[in-house]
Structures are given as C-alpha cells and as structure tokens.
C-alpha cells in the first residue's frame, strides 16, 4: 500500500514529505489494536498521547483530593477554636465534637491527613501526574517516534498507577484510618501497629499501594529510556534533543536506579511487620510489652528511604525544569541560553542527587562525621542549579517575550525555584540544620522548591501543550487569573512559614498550645490557612478551565500555533496513531533556532541553508 500523497498544510509538512524518513509505518495495519473501539481508545489505550491524558487527569483528581486534605488540616491549625462539625457528614468519627459543640479533627486523623497529603502529592501528583503526563506526551512527539518503544508496558504503567491509587484510596475508609506516620514512614512508628492506629491495616495498604506505584514508575521509566535512546528519528542526535527530553530521560534514569531501593526498604519493612524479623527494630518496649526484636536499626530504613527520597525530589523537579526551558525559549522567541550548560547541569544534578541523601538525616543519630561529605555534595548542587537559573534569566534577555499563561507560569517557576532553592543552602548546611531540622522552615522550603515550583512547571506544560492534547486552547484570561492567584497565594501560604520555622516551631504538630515557645503565631497561622483556601480556589479555576476547554475551548486552526521549532508541532492538529500521517520527519538542526538570521523561527525539519550563519 503506497502512502497517500496529501497536500502539505504548511511549510514543515512539505519538508517532511520531501525530506522525511519513510519507515513504512502506515503500510501495516494497526487499526484493530489501537483506538478501534471505546475501550481500547479511552481505557486500555496503548497510544502514548491517550496515556498521557490518563496520567494527567488522574493526577488532577489526586491533586484535588490531596489539596482538600491540606485545607482540612490547615483549618485545624489556623482555627483550632472554630468548629468544623459541619464536616462530620463527610469525615464522620474523625471529627470529635466537644461538650460546647465545637468539632475538631481527631489527632490521629490529623496525622493521617498530613501523611496522605504528602504521599499523594509527592508520588501520585508530582511524580505520576507530572513526569507520567509529559514524558508520555512529549517523548515520542519531540524525538520523532511513532510511539513508545513498548506501548504495552506503557499502558501497564498507567494501570499499575491506577491500581496503586485505588488501594491508597481504599485505605482512607479503614476503621483504623489510613496510614498516619508521615509520608517518610519511619519505623518503628510505621512498623508497629500498637504505636499508632494508622500503622495497622492503613500501613499495610500504604506499602502495597506504593509497591504497585514503583512498578508503574519502573515500567514507565524503562520505556522512556529505551524510547529516547533507540527511537529518535533520523538526524535527531542527542545534542539536538529539546531540553524537556533530556530532563525526562535523566528523570527516568533516576527513577530506575532509586525506586527499587525504596521497594527493598518496603520489603524489609513487610518482613519486620509480618514475620518478626528485626531489620529496623531493636530494644522496643511498647504497649506494656518488651518486643522480641533485637539488633535492627531504624536508621537503616532512613538510609534506604532517602536513597530514593532525595533523587525523588529531582524526579519531580527535573521534568518541570525541562518544560520551563522549552516554554520560556519558545515564548521569548530566543534560543534557550547555554543549551549545553543546561544539559550538563541536568546531568550534574542527576548525578549529585544520588550522593546527598543523608542531608535529611543530620539529626537522625548518624555519626556527625558523615555530615562532612553530605554537606559538601549538597551545597555543590547549588552550583548547577544556579547555572540553570542564570540561563533562564539570560534566555529572557534580549527576547521578545509573549505573555501567555504558559510563559507566566514559566517565569513564576523560576521565581519559586530561586526562593525555595536559596533556603536549600540553609538547610543543606548541617550547622543550621541543628535548629531548622523538622521545623516549619523545612515545610516552607520544600513546598516552594519542589511543590509549588513543580506545579508551576506542570501548569506551564499543560497550558502550552493543551492544544496538542485536545486540539483546542485553554482560556487565556482564566489562565492569567489562575497564574496571579497562584503565585500570590502560594507565596502568602509559604513565605510566613519561614518565620515560624526560624522561631523554632516544629512541623507535624496537631496543636501549638501546649508549648509556650510555639503558641505565639496564631495570627500567622490564620493568615496561612485563609491564603491556602483562596489559593486552592484558584486551582479550581484551572480545573474548570481545563475541562471547559476540552470541549468548548477555542479551536486550534494551524498546526504550529506558537511558531515553535520542535517536532510535535509538525504533526496534524488531530494527531492520530503513529503521530505523522506519512513519513517521519528527518531532523536537520537543533531545536532552538529562534530569531536566527532575522527569521522568527526555523523548524527542526528545515535543512541548514547555504547562506545560513554557523550553527549554535
């Protein structure tokens, strides 16, 4: 069957027809396997674009659940005297109403909410929802591949994530409550059901859920790596990859190397819980009984956990960095400044992220001497991070910056990354960590640098590639409202926490009244809670905009609405299976020839002209 000759819709499509790579993809019949009925199109889809949407929408659902949880416990913290008895229809016995009719959260459930909020946001939203969505959507489209190397594994990756989420969701309804020992799940608290209600069945489900989640990450990750290494189209050398792809690639490697360690930590935990081994437990007297466990070390778990845990924060932030690099470059109409420096800093951050884990453990009882190494490596990470910030700023310099929700969130991302990254220099210094460890300062730091910043990266990506996903644009005015509400709101929520933390107030406190030292921030806590509620409201605006625009948004009329160089904009508006209707594009240049030789943009498929000034 010969490829049908279609009249090119634009210059790029013409170039693909002329110079593209014929892989005879469309001569094979794929129709039955892919997208031929509702189930295989929308549910058990093997198409990377549909899987990306599944990850995104599932992630959004989880973000709403996790966000609402934070509002409930923020209300308890900000307004401990106000009654939340009106939540009783939803939360039932987890609201205790005292004799004055004032309903407040039961401490056990407060800790359950804090734990679930952390777990959900870190794993389900910022790992699956961010990396899962954009790696799936962009890797094949940007490198010029028909799909992932293994669409089947890709589909399984989503469905393992779905199973994981289902189990976690089910744990919310246990009579003893979901797991409540903090998202890091340090033993012995997490290992002993008698230590806390949530450490019973809640912890069992939590562990099983996360094991499924790791399977999902590994299936996805191995696919991303293979796809980037093997399925790049003709001419797409590694040094021509757009930056998001570099970021997703390194992210996948980090996940592949670190998540198995987490699973091994969980397996040891299961053995300790189930059959009485003593990997993490020793010398414990609890519930009126001395336990038989002897010889284990709770610090072993912390090492294993943070060996994942630290790369995990880069698993979250690297995709956001990649997305922002692309969005800023496209909207500044300028090449990303220092492409190679950006790639090397991604690689440096990826490498260093594996040798800094113990900076979470300076005060854990490890030998203080160990801190010497980890402080050095931790503060070194500031160098590639600073390089990236300077490069983003330099990308704006001399540009012609378009302000749309995507680029605004990109700028906001850089601001958040600076604000949160700089406090990392405080916490990475073990001397300061003596006082700041486990206080609200830490809460402020990581929420800004990996929570809010990663969300900003995700929003930039969603606004930017929404047309590629749904063939329509999101509403720009609402997007701008969303941006301003979010950046102002997020700073209002997290900035004051720095002061509370410097005053020494510990995190994970259900009430601050017991201690005189910690009880003097009632007003700030009220302010934070109100800001959090308003900020959450602005996120609903995004959700509304998202779903409204899927069906009612302004239609995309041209293939390349942003005049961007990368390959995803050379695919048809209705991108079918296989992404390109005819030949695969052949790549002739890097992704960032914006404003070169007076031309606004030069697509990657355009050959280098004879008179063109030398390559970058």
């Amino acid at each position: 069957m010969a490829t049908a000759v279609i009249a090119p819709a634009n210059r790029e499509e013409g170039l693909i027809q002329e110079l593209g790579y014929e892989d005879h993809f469309h001569e094979h019949h794929h129709g039955d396997k892919y997208q031929s009925n509702f189930i295989s199109h929308y549910v058990f889809s093997q198409d990377h674009k549909m899987i990306a949407k599944q990850f995104l929408i599932t992630g959004m659902m989880w973000a709403i659940i996790g966000g609402l949880m934070s509002l409930v416990f923020r209300m308890q913290l900000g307004f401990p005297e106000e009654s939340i008895a009106w939540l009783k229809p939803v939360l039932g016995k987890w609201i205790a109403v005292n004799s004055d009719g004032v309903g407040s959260l039961v401490p056990d459930f407060y800790y359950a909410l804090v734990t679930m909020h952390g777990t959900i946001l870190v794993f389900f939203v910022l790992t699956a929802g961010l990396s899962g969505t954009f790696s799936n959507l962009l890797i094949p489209l940007m490198i010029g591949a028909r799909d992932m190397a293994s669409p089947m594994l890709n589909m399984m990756s989503y469905w393992f994530f779905f199973i994981s989420g289902t189990i976690m969701f089910a744990s919310l309804f246990l009579s003893t409550g979901p797991f409540a020992g903090g998202w890091v799940a340090y033993p012995p608290l997490s290992a002993l059901p008698q230590a806390m209600d949530g450490s019973g069945a809640g912890m069992t489900l939590w562990t099983i859920s996360l094991v499924f989640f790791v399977v999902s990450v590994l299936l996805g990750g191995i696919n991303y790596i293979t796809t980037v290494l093997n399925l790049r189209t003709k001419g797409m050398s590694m040094w021509r990859l757009p930056l998001p792809i570099w970021a997703f690639f390194v992210t996948a490697i980090l996940g592949l190397l670190s998540f198995p360690v987490l699973v091994s930590a969980f397996f040891l935990m299961m053995l300790d819980r189930g059959i009485g081994t003593s990997f993490y437990l020793s010398d414990i007297y609890i519930g009126g009984q001395a336990l038989d466990h002897v010889g284990g070390s709770p610090i072993l778990y912390q090492h294993l956990f943070w060996f994942l845990g630290h790369p995990e924060v880069y698993i979250i932030i690297l995709p956001a960095m990649g997305i922002v690099s692309e969005v800023l470059s496209v909207n500044a109409r300028k090449p990303i400044f220092g492409y190679k420096a950006m790639v090397f800093s991604i690689l440096a951050i990826g490498f260093l992220s594996f040798i800094v884990w113990a900076h979470h453990m300076f005060m854990s009882g490890v030998n203080p001497f160990i801190a010497n190494f980890f402080v050095v490596f931790t503060l070194i990470i500031a160098v590639p991070s600073a390089v990236k910030v300077f490069n983003w700023i330099a990308t704006l310099y001399g540009g012609s910056v378009r302000f749309n929700p995507a680029s605004l969130f990109g700028i906001g991302f850089v601001s958040m990354f600076i604000s949160g990254g700089l406090t990392g220099i405080w916490l990475g210094n073990s001397t300061l960590d003596i006082q700041l460890h486990d206080t609200y300062f830490v809460v402020a730091h990581f929420h800004i640098v990996m929570g809010v910043a990663a969300f900003f990266g995700m929003y930039a990506g969603v606004y930017h590639w929404f047309p590629k996903m749904y063939g329509r644009f999101m509403n720009e005015t609402l997007g701008k409202f969303h941006f301003w509400g979010t950046i102002i709101g997020a700073y209002c929520v997290f900035w004051p926490m720095h002061f509370i933390g410097m005053a020494g107030v510990p995190r994970r406190y259900y009430s601050f009244d017991v201690f005189q030292s910690f009880s003097q921030f009632g007003d700030l806590n009220k302010f934070i809670t109100i800001a959090a509620i308003i900020t959450f409201g602005f996120q609903l605006l995004f959700v509304l905009n998202f779903f409204y625009s899927i069906w009612k948004g302004r239609k995309m009329k041209t293939m390349n609405p942003y005049n961007a160089n990368t390959l995803e904009w050379t695919t048809p508006i209705e991108t079918g299976h296989g992404n390109w209707p005819g030949k695969l594009p052949a790549v002739q240049r890097w992704a960032y020839d914006y404003g070169k030789d007076g031309r606004e943009f030069i697509s990657q498929v355009e050959p280098v002209g004879p008179d063109e000034s030398p390559a970058h």
């Binding site: 806390m196 610090i299 492409y339 420096a341 005060m363 700028i411 210094n429 206080t439 910690f518």
Partner: protein
C-alpha cells in the same frame, strides 16, 4: 443547608469568572487580536514589575517585622554556648542568599518586562556565552566553598563529644509515647546501665539494679540545669523515634530505641536572665493566656519538645526546665530522691540485698548509736535493751548472715567507747518448730554473737549471753511479719552489775 449555599456560591463565582474569561477572549477576536494582545502584553508587563516590587518589599519588610522571631535576634538569642555560632552562620547565609534573591528576582522580572513582545520588535539571536557560563559557575562555587568550610568548621566543633579531661555533667533523656523521662546521676556522677527487657511497672526505664551506678540515679520530669556547665545528654527512646529538642538552646537530636545518641551543650543564660531580657519586648508584655495575672515574660520557661513524629500525641511531649546558678542546681539535685533507694531497695525486685551501701552502713551506725545511748541513759534497768535488728541468722542455724557484722561492729565500737558498760546478749526465736530446739538454738545464737564481740576485742567478762527461745515474743507469731520481729537478738547494756542469767527452761511465758 448553609454548607450547600456556600457551595452554590462558589460554583456561581466560578461560573462568573469563566464567563468573564470567555467574553474577554471573544472580545480579543472581535476587536482585532493584535491590538488587544499588544495592550494585554503591556499590562501584564506592568503587573510583573509591580508584583516584583511588591514581593521584594514585602519580603524584606516582613523579615524586619518578624526579626525578633529569627535566630539570634531579639528574644531568640541563643541560651547556649554553641548556639551563637549557629546564629552567626545563619546570618551570614541570610546575607548571601538575600543578595542573590533580590538580584535574580529583579533581573527575572525586569527582563520579562523590558523584553516583552512589541509590535515589530525582534528577539536577538543569543544562543550561549561560555565566558558567562564560567563566571556564573565559578562565583556560586566560590561562595558555596566559603559556606561549606565555615559551616563544617562550626558543625564539627558543636557535634564533637566531650573530651577525656572535660568537666561535664551527664544526664539522660528517654522519650516515650508521649513524654520525656529525665535521669540525673547521683553522687557518683554516672548513669547506670539499662535494658529494655527489664522494664516493668516498678522500673519504667529498665534500669539494671545489679549495676550499682543505678543506685543513686534520680528520675525527674521537669528539671534544672546549672549555668556555664557542660551538659552531655544521652538521648534514648523506649518505643518509637523521638527527638530531643531544646529550641532556645539550638539543641536537637533524634532519640532512637536501641541506639543511644548524645548532644553536648553549655547553658549560658539563666531562666531569670532570660525572663528579664524577654521583658524588654512588646510581644512578651502581654498577659499569659494560661495565667492572666502574669505577663508572658514572667511565666516564660525553657522547654523540651519532641521534633520527630512519634504518634498522635507528638505535639504534647512538654517538659520545662530552669537554668540556675550551680549551687542552686546542686541543692536541687540533692533534694531529688534516688528512685532505687526510694522504691526498689530491699523489695523483692532488689538483687542487692546481700550488700550494704556506705550510706546505709553509716545510717545504721548512727541509728544504733542513738538507740544504744538512749538505752544506756535510761534510768530504769528494765528498758536498757535494744534490738539488734540487722543481726540475723541463716534459717535454723546459728550461722550469722553476711550483713550482720556491720551492726555487730557498731556494737563493738560502742562497747569500746564505753569501757565501763557491760552487756547481756539475748537470743529469741519465733514459735515455728520444736520449743525445746528453739531454746537451744537461741542460746547458741546468743553465744555466737558473744563470741563475735569477744573476737572484736571486747573482754569476755563484760559479756553474758542467754537464749529465750520462743518464750518472749514481742509480736504476734500468727503473721509472717510478727514472726520476723520475734526472731531477734537483743542487747542489754548497763553501767551496773549484770543480772545473773536466768534459765527459763520449761517455764512457758504464759
């Protein structure tokens, strides 16, 4: 119902915003996209700059406003010797990061504004500049090196353990769900061994009573610490992880079951001085919500908190403590009873009944001397008897128990000191067994005691012994306590002539 209304309001609000968004986007299409776009771009540029200015000003102003809450400022000056280094390190870091924070934010938002899209405006093609990359790799690297070196210098000093010649006090803090148990050493200055398997109702820490270092250890809840004295806290946990956290002292360290950790620090500010310095700040010149009679600074106390999630009562592990002058501390410590002596000594849980502590020997000696002198000075001859209550025999034999010699030695010393005193030793038994045999046994026991005294250097002509068997009980033989009281050796002392020992054989007492 009101909940429903609130939800409807939120939904309506969202709908209104959505409509505004739609209308604006439609208007843009109608009025000429480019013109509207240009105006929007300009406005957004202004907003960005306005945001940047407001943000930086508010950040700086709020830091000034909350200055008193930050490390090392105002009332939050450190109360420990090492804390000052942490605070100054923080200030250096604050200065460095603040400069970077301000500069990068100005550049970020200013460039976004300045290089916004304009009609006919074109972006410059600047792809990279290796020199710049080297500069902005190098400068952060140098700054980081400086921070790393000064940070680690402080860290290794602060976290170092006590040296061999250091003068320090070692105390122990044990976290459990949900409180702290403090343990202070007694006169030996040492904390005894403990083992979690020994924990029970009478032994909350699992102290090993065979380790005599435990004998004088004091268990306290709210405590005092001496000023300017190095304190080494041994930090442990009973059940799950806890964290020993003294916010005012810059002290924080996890407490782990089975893996003791430590933190060494020196308090440098007494509670009194601290309260006085707090009284200068407005935020402390308000009534204490828990004690409205007093100002907040008057009731301020140093606090011990938990800083590692340990369960549903994590937020409530409060202990308060005072820092006082050393002599006040010594006086306070001396008042605290030894847990072992108060609650364990000579109970069934005491493994050390076979020995006496020097303090006990001394105490018994004084007790004996007092009783003996009283007996001696009593005019009525009949009352000149005292019971040698610590002189005991192995069951059914005339073999003195190990601990008896202490009181007998006291008796020897007493008789030597009072050379004119003569003494009659009387043996008694309870009514268990054969009365005849008991009489013989008591006779032999009295003779053994006499023998001991003679060997101790008391002339035999000053002493007489006699057995009374079960015939002179002082308590009811029906109870174990009564029988124990009846099994006794008595010492009759007199300055006059000794009575001729009467044989009471076959003369029942009633």
């Amino acid at each position: 119902m009101s909940t429903l209304i609130v939800f409807i309001c939120i939904a309506l609000l969202l709908l209104i915003v959505l409509q505004i968004g739609r209308v604006r986007d439609l208007a843009k299409q109608l009025r000429g996209a480019e013109e509207v776009e240009a105006r929007n771009t300009k406005m957004t540029g202004y907003y960005l700059v306005a945001f940047m200015v407001a943000f930086l000003v508010l950040c700086t102003a709020s830091a000034f406003y909350y200055k008193n809450w930050m490390l090392g400022y105002g009332p939050h000056e450190s109360a420990s010797a090492h804390g000052g280094r942490i605070d100054s390190m923080m200030n250096v870091t604050l200065a460095v990061t603040y400069i970077v924070f301000i500069l990068t934010h100005i550049l970020l938002f200013w460039y976004a504004y300045k290089y916004r899209q304009r009609k006919g405006g074109k972006a410059q093609f600047i792809s990279h500049n290796n020199q710049l990359e080297i500069i902005w790799t190098g400068i952060p690297a140098i700054v980081m090196t400086f921070l790393v070196i000064s940070g680690l210098d402080a860290w290794n000093d602060i976290m170092g353990d006590v040296g061999a010649d250091d003068d320090y006090i070692e105390i122990e803090a044990t976290g459990y769900q949900f409180a702290w148990q403090l343990r202070f050493p007694g006169e030996d200055g040492l904390i005894g061994r403990k083992d979690f398997r020994l924990i029970d109702g009478t032994n909350s820490l699992g102290q090993d009573w065979t380790d005599l270092k435990n004998a004088d250890d004091k268990l306290v809840n709210n405590f005092k610490l001496p000023l300017n004295k190095k304190i080494r806290v041994r930090i442990t946990a009973k059940d799950v992880l806890h964290d020993f956290y003294l916010p005012q002292f810059r002290v924080k360290m996890d407490a782990l079951p089975g893996l003791p950790t430590y933190f060494v620090f020196t308090p440098t500010k007494t509670t009194k001085e601290w309260r006085k310095s707090l009284s200068e700040y407005e935020e402390y010149q308000v009534p204490d919500p828990n004690d409205p009679e007093k100002m907040l600074w008057e009731t301020a106390n140093y606090e011990l908190a938990c800083a590692e999630l340990c369960g549903n009562g994590h937020y409530s592990m409060l202990r308060t403590f005072e820092v006082v002058e050393e002599d006040e501390y010594e006086a306070w410590l001396a008042e605290q009873p030894s847990y072992y002596m108060e609650n364990i000594r000579f109970t069934e849980n005491d493994p050390n009944t076979g020995m006496l502590f020097p303090a006990e020997i001394e105490q018994r000696r004084q007790e004996f001397n007092t009783e003996a002198n009283t007996a001696l000075e009593t005019p009525e001859d009949d009352d000149n008897t005292l019971i040698l209550k610590y002189v005991t025999f192995e069951t059914g034999s005339a073999q003195l128990t190990e601990l008896s010699r202490y009181q007998l030695d006291d008796a020897i010393a007493f008789l030597k000191k009072n050379a004119e005193v003569k003494s009659l030793l009387k043996g008694h038994t309870d009514n268990t067994g054969n009365a005849e045999a008991n009489l013989t046994l008591s006779d032999r026991r009295a003779a053994v005691v006499l023998d001991y005294l003679v060997k101790g250097g008391i002339s035999a002509d000053r002493l007489v012994s006699s057995g009374f068997g079960q015939y002179a009980p002082v308590a009811d033989n029906a109870t174990e306590d009564g029988r124990e009281a009846n099994r006794r050796t008595e010492l009759y002392v007199t300055r006059g002539a000794l009575p001729v020992p009467t044989t009471i054989v076959n003369t029942p007492s009633k």
